[in-house]
């Protein structure tokens, strides 16, 4: 490694931090020099946040026997510096703005006033939170942080040694066409499961909501599949979908349709997974939609009927908008289900095949991390998957969250 590299990176961080915080301080009416000083310290910390633990490995000149450095690694390194700066600088800036707004709103005088329903001691809430935070830290945060460490290693379960491989576990994904294909497969299966699943569930829920004799029995039966474990569902569908000897092709044959290679045709196999996954999650969706339908006010529908709206119009313009909070909730839970929990169904049904046509990102993490036993690559891929789902959820809340109608 070039000895100057850490210095240059720290200097760049200091420069960016100084100018950004200096500007922020002046904007909020504080002294700029003071902001610049804090900015230098924060910028150095931010730039080195990821670089120090990684030992600046992506900027080193001489090759390492276990990993190779190319332009992708360098770009990745610059991205990590930028993310590190953002992690440190943005919260500092946010605190400055918050203090400034508090000062200007002149609420400081009332700060000691007793607020009803609040703790008298400021330590009490923290003491009460400690048990929960301790458990979360031990079983969630610590393993998550350890996953980041693991993702920079070549590590195998049961192997006596590990080796540091820089960010190869991440950057090798960019040049891996199979990984890119997996992203597409995941979104295809995920979107199909959510869209088809929710449409079907709403239709069935609407029908089951009709006042029929024995409606309670129908509703109970409709929720049954949800109680079955993904593994059992996978095995049931494996036996049903088996192209030779399976009952689905038998029935297709009876009605004169050519047999479908559900498990050995790369076009049909994702649909086998989609059908099995929808069947599995439908009970949950129907349960929520029936509950939602019970909350749709009868008088709204009646007044729409008086205004001349037919059944379809009433459903489309009255019922569906009133169900939007439930639909929004179900979209998010179903998307999470499609991303993470179809894993069990895929494992028993197709095992990621044929031709890796059902190799979703989650199943790939299992294949790489557990079956192939490559913990480092598995950890890196699970972090990428995590970031995708976080991004997707933020996008969800940003886009459709606003259109959700929670009623008057």
């Amino acid at each position: 490694m070039n000895a100057a590299t850490p210095l240059i990176i720290a200097l760049v961080g200091a420069l960016i931090g100084a100018s950004f915080l200096g500007w922020t301080f002046r904007q909020q009416g504080y002294r700029m020099e003071f902001g610049a000083l804090i900015g230098i310290a924060a910028g150095v910390v931010g730039a080195l946040l990821f670089m120090m633990p990684l030992d600046f490995c992506m900027f080193q000149a001489e090759p390492d026997p276990l990993f190779k450095i190319d332009s992708v690694d360098v770009i990745f390194g610059i991205m990590l510096i930028a993310i590190g700066l953002a992690i440190v600088l943005l919260p500092v800036a946010a605190i400055v703005r918050w203090r400034a707004s508090r000062r200007s709103s002149e609420l400081l005088a009332d700060a000691n006033a007793v607020v009803p329903g609040a703790f008298k001691s400021r330590w009490m809430p923290i003491v009460l939170l400690i048990p929960t935070i301790a458990i979360l830290a031990l079983f969630l945060y610590y393993p998550s942080l350890d996953t980041i460490r693991l993702s920079t290693l070549l590590a195998r379960l049961g192997a006596p040694r590990t080796a540091f491989v820089c960010v190869d576990n991440y950057t090798s994904l960019v040049s891996n066409p199979e990984y890119i294909r997996s992203i597409g497969i995941t979104f295809f299966i995920g979107i199909a499961v959510v869209v088809i699943g929710l449409v079907l569930s709403l239709l069935i829920a609407t029908m089951a909501y009709q006042p029929l004799t024995g409606a309670r029995i129908y509703r109970t039966l409709l929720i049954w599949p949800y109680a079955i474990s993904p593994a059992v569902a996978g095995i049931i569908f494996l036996l049903m979908f088996n192209p030779a000897g399976g009952i689905i092709n038998y029935f297709l044959d009876r009605v004169g349709i050519a047999p479908v290679g559900w498990l050995n045709d790369p076009v049909a196999a994702p649909w086998a997974v989609i059908i099995a996954s929808i069947w599995k999650s439908m009970g949950f969706n129907i349960l929520f939609y029936i509950a939602g339908l019970q909350n749709v006010p009868k008088d709204l529908q009646e007044s729409a009927a008086i205004d001349g709206a037919n059944v379809v119009q009433r459903f489309w313009y009255v019922v569906i908008p009133l169900l939007s909070p439930i639909t929004f909730f179900l979209v998010i839970t179903n998307l999470t289900y499609a991303f993470f929990e179809t894993f069990g169904t895929i494992d028993y049904l197709t095992g990621g095949g044929p031709l890796k046509s059902t190799m979703t990102l989650m199943y790939r993490v299992y294949e790489v991390g557990v079956v192939t036993n490559d913990l480092g690559k598995g950890a890196a891929q699970s972090i990428v998957l995590f970031l995708i789902v976080v991004g997707l959820t933020i996008f969800q809340f940003g886009s459709s969250g606003r259109r959700v109608n929670y009623g008057a």
């Binding site: 276990l66 070549l154 590590a155 195998r156 379960l157 049961g158 192997a159 006596p160 040694r161 590990t162 080796a163 494996l238 036996l239 088996n242 192209p243 030779a244 000897g245 399976g246 047999p259 290679g261 498990l263 050995n264 045709d265 790369p266 196999a269 028993y348 197709t350 095992g351 095949g353 044929p354 031709l355 890796k356 294949e367 557990v370 079956v371 192939t372 036993n373 490559d374």
Partner: protein, 449 residues
């Protein structure tokens, strides 16, 4: 309320008593990779053993396949929660040795000739089995379920098609399939096989071709795979040809999941023949009897064009490994159970209820004397196939790190060849070999001493 309190006291009393009673016996945990009738058999045997030697409490736990048990064992080792005995499949041998979790049986026995009155007669095992499980001159793990790849034919369908006996070569397979599929009431497909790495290895061994370098990893640690040789290409080309003709049924399932789809296709009479493991000879033969068709077992068909013809087949199945670092009581209990489970009578019974080979010479003699093989000719096929095999580097099988993962790379390559139109077997195998080499290099970098 008083009554409830009394009941509570009583319950606490009973609950504290139960573990005390169980603590008298030394617990010996055994993990095996079966969940079907084979697990039931092992559990019944453990109960018999516990009744005979009440100072031990052998507890058998089942896992759904070898691959899963392999992973579970590694996790348990990480947490210091290994049982006393683990069943490892043959390809995990290198990983098992490198891991240091296990102790060679020969070392544990020492020079004792009996433990708790159970004879430790290691010289009674049949030749190929003893040879396979002897590593570095030491009897390493306890053979238990030993099998070979064979073929089951629905002779009732073959008779109808005018095929008198199951085909023995790839060319004969093709000819037989032509006849079968030409029938008006032909089954959906002619034959099927589980896309499990083991069969690829068997077909390679038949052609006397190695799977890995350094004499299949037996003279020195394997550093590269060799399966992208002519033998591998010939096999994939043949499978592809049969698939394209509509003769071969490939369910799309790979590895441990592939067995079930083959069972379903053959037992539903959707195929006339199934390449399979001799492990299920009993189930295959009996299902045929119950459903009115005759099942004939025969040698695994071979490549008639291979330079040396048929060389032989390799052993398959799994053995029971003794965990290292157990206390003396647990280790002696585990050893007693291992030798008792594989004694003459149990070895013969195990063979009869499953189809795994009778692994003891004395068991073979006993079965022969009782006329078992003349009455059940399907049960001798696997043993004959192994005893007629030549002993070469190829038929000894590969010893290699990360083998379970490399098997998946091989089955993925087969999947790609069979499901891609105009696939080039040589190019796909080369690609798979490169991937396997990278995986092997990573393993060796971390685990080789």
């Amino acid at each position: 309320m008083k009554r409830l309190f009394a009941l509570f006291i009583l319950l606490t009393f009973v609950l504290t008593l139960v573990p005390v009673a169980a603590q008298d016996a030394t617990e010996v945990k055994v993990w095996i990779a079966f969940t079907d009738n084979r697990l039931d058999w092992a559990k019944a045997k453990a109960e018999e053993f516990n009744a005979a030697l009440p100072q031990y409490n052998v507890v058998v736990e089942g896992y759904s396949n070898y691959e899963e048990l392999f992973n579970a064992t590694q996790l348990a080792a990480e947490q210091n929660a290994l049982p006393a005995i683990v069943q490892y499949f043959e390809v995990a041998s290198q990983d098992a040795i490198d891991s240091g979790y296990f102790k060679p049986i020969a070392d544990a026995v020492g020079d004792r000739t009996e433990i708790n009155g159970i004879a430790t007669n290691l010289d009674d095992f049949i030749g190929p089995v003893a040879a396979y499980y002897t590593i570095n001159g030491k009897f390493n793990s306890m053979p238990w379920n030993t099998s070979s790849a064979i073929m089951f034919s629905n002779q009732t369908i073959l008779d109808k098609a005018g095929v008198d006996a199951p085909p023995t070569t790839w060319a004969e397979m093709d000819a037989a399939c032509e006849k079968v599929m030409a029938m008006s009431d032909a089954p959906q497909y002619c034959f099927t096989w589980p896309n499990h790495g083991w069969f690829f290895e068997q077909w390679l061994a038949q052609q006397d071709a190695p799977f890995a370098n350094n004499d299949n990893g037996r003279t020195e640690r394997a550093t590269e795979v060799a399966f992208n040789n002519d033998a591998g290409v010939a096999l994939l080309s043949w499978l592809k040809e049969e698939k394209d003709k509509g003769y071969l049924y490939y369910s799309g399932a790979q590895g441990g999941d592939s067995w079930g789809t083959v069972d379903q296709a053959f037992q539903g009479q959707q195929t006339a023949m199934a390449v399979y493991s001799s492990s299920d000879t009993a189930i295959y033969t009996n299902t045929g009897k119950e459903n009115g068709y005759e099942v004939v077992a025969s040698f695994l068909p071979y490549n008639q064009d291979a330079p040396g013809g048929w060389t032989g087949n390799l052993i398959g199945g799994a053995s029971l490994w003794l965990v290292d670092g157990l206390s003396t009581e647990v280790e002696d209990g585990a050893l007693s159970f291992l030798f008792w489970l594989t004694n003459t009578q149990n070895a013969a019974e195990w063979h009869q209820v499953t189809g795994y080979m009778p692994i003891r010479l004395s068991a073979v003699a006993e079965l022969e004397a009782a006329g078992w093989f003349t009455e059940n000719p399907n049960f001798i096929v696997a043993a004959n196939q192994l005893s007629e095999s030549q002993k070469t580097i190829a038929t000894a099988g590969a010893l290699m790190g990360n083998f379970p993962a490399i098997r998946n790379i091989v089955t993925n390559a087969i999947d790609k060849v069979l499901l891609t139109a105009d696939a080039d077997p040589k190019a796909i195998l080369d690609e798979a070999a490169a991937e396997a080499n990278a995986s092997l290099a990573e393993y060796n970098a971390l685990s080789a001493s």
